[in-house]
Amino acid sequence: MSSEKKGWKDIEIGCVVTEPGSAASYKTGDWRSERPVRDNTKCIKCGICYIYCPDAAINEDEEGYFEADLYYCKGCGVCAHECPRGVITMVEEEEEEGEK
């Protein structure tokens, strides 16, 4: 999302948003207080985390492992809760600083 604030004369008629899919630029990652940290040695690549992620913020990599896209991941912890092998641990953002 653009942080530029338009004046009333610059708004499109009817406040129409002419840039389609602009929601993709909205960084919901800012909402996160805990982030999912994975131990892929336990991962069986079942994809449960991928399926359950309510924000579709988890992507599959070339090797078949799954990783949360931290631009969007809100840190809800559903993936950690659902993982059958305990691969994912939710870690306070503060303890992970520097990695953003």
């Binding site: 338009k6 004046g7 708004i11 499109e12 008629i13 406040c15 002419t18």
Partner: protein, 395 residues
């Protein structure tokens, strides 16, 4: 002068003819007295192949306006109509086309609101929607019901306007009364309302988002833009009516005057009572009294300048309201007063409420208002409190 023919039509059918000649794409409406004949006639026209349009049957007025919003957003020319409780059920959705700038055209057959249940005419429904950002136009007879509906399409769809427009015809007084209506040549009407293109339509090839979330950082700017653009529709409305006049020979303006040239007293009405009020003015003129009549044709956006000009030489303005703003008096009178506040300290304004729920206002009713207003001016001069009087009420 235009080709055409005079046909006996009730106001409802005159509206339906205008909508047919406007060659609308989509109609969605739910029947309610006294608007029903408009919907019935249009449905019949579509069934008989006289009008090539989609009629979307819905279960309520809320859905009717919702369907119109969707169709208009997709670029269609649309129509709906309602009255009274139906318009109120539509109320929530009326805000959408006015803020999303969709040129939906609607007709309301003005009717009172419950309770007690009344199917008869007054302006309560029209007044309840005055703050929504719809252009509101009042017709006085069936010819105007036709003409102003035709004009409403041209106005609403103008690139410098793009606001929804509503034509108000008084329920029963126009909707159910047959009189001669000059129907112009269809091709001339089609020429007067050319195909239009909205700058933004729902199109998968060129997507846009409409009706988005408006957080505090943008909402006030959106409303400022809407208000400025809405107010700026006034010259376009007049321009359209002028062009209609040049083409079809019948001229309209936001504030129409009758025998006002040397009038010291002016009556002010809206809707179908205008012509009966003219007869009252004629009679009072014959009695040597300097009374004239002002009819507000355009209610929203309010024609401040034209109105102030119309009353500039008047000493007493007598306003008839066909609705009540409970605890406040007549809505038209309140607005007229606010339009003149600080402009005319020498002008007395006396408001009356009458014609509620279909009660006739005869010629004598208008004469009574003028006489009573003169008494009230004296009461005001003596420092007495004046309340808005409801005329013709039994004690």
């Amino acid at each position: 002068m235009t080709k055409g023919k005079i046909v006996g039509l009730e106001g409802s059918f005159a509206v339906a003819e205008a909508v047919r000649m406007a060659n609308v794409d989509v109609i969605s409406a739910y029947p309610i007295t006294p608007q029903t004949h408009i919907v019935e006639r249009l449905a019949e026209m579509i069934a008989d192949g006289e009008l090539d349009a989609e009629f979307i049957c819905v279960e309520s007025e809320h859905s009717a306006m919702s369907a119109c919003v969707g169709a208009s957003a997709a670029g269609a020319r649309v129509f709906t109509c309602s009255a009274s409780q139906g318009l109120e059920l539509m109320h929530e959705v009326l805000y959408i086309p006015s803020s999303m700038r969709l040129p939906v055209v609607a007709v309301t057959a003005n009717r009172a609101l419950s309770a007690p249940l009344s199917v008869w005419c007054d302006h309560s429904d029209a007044m309840a929607i005055r703050d929504i950002g719809w252009i509101q136009i009042f017709a006085e007879n069936n010819q105007q019901a036709f003409d102003l509906t035709v004009c409403a399409y041209r106005i609403a769809e103008d690139k410098e306007v793009l606001f929804p427009a509503m034509v108000h015809i008084d329920g029963f007084y126009l909707s159910h009364v047959i009189e001669g209506v000059m129907l112009p040549d269809e091709e001339e009407v089609a020429h007067f309302i050319p195909d239009y293109e909205h700058p933004f339509v729902l199109d998968p090839e060129d997507p846009v988002s409409m009706g988005c979330y408006g957080p505090p950082f943008i909402y006030p700017e959106a409303k400022k833009a809407q208000e400025v653009d809405f107010t700026n529709t006034k010259p376009k409305i007049q321009e359209t009516w002028d062009e209609f006049g040049e083409t079809f020979g019948r001229y309209y303006s936001p504030v129409e005057k009758y025998k006002m040239e040397d009038a010291n007293i002016a009556l002010l009405t809206m809707g179908s009572s205008g012509e009966t009020a003219m007869l009252a003015v004629d009679e009072m003129r014959e009695e040597g009294r300097d009374v004239g009549l002002i009819r507000l044709r355009l209610w929203r956006p309010f024609p401040f300048k034209e109105f102030r000009d119309a009353v500039k030489d008047v000493e007493l303005l007598v306003v008839l309201d066909r609705a009540i703003s409970f605890g406040m008096g007549g809505p038209v009178c309140s607005e007229v007063k606010s339009a003149l506040y600080d402009k005319r300290k020498d002008l007395s304004i006396v408001g009356f409420i009458g014609g509620l729920g279909g009660r006739d206002i005869p010629i004598d009713g208008f004469k009574y208002m003028v006489n009573r207003a003169l008494e009230k001016v004296k009461m005001i001069e003596r420092g007495e409190e004046i309340e808005t009087e409801m005329i013709g009420i039994r004690e």
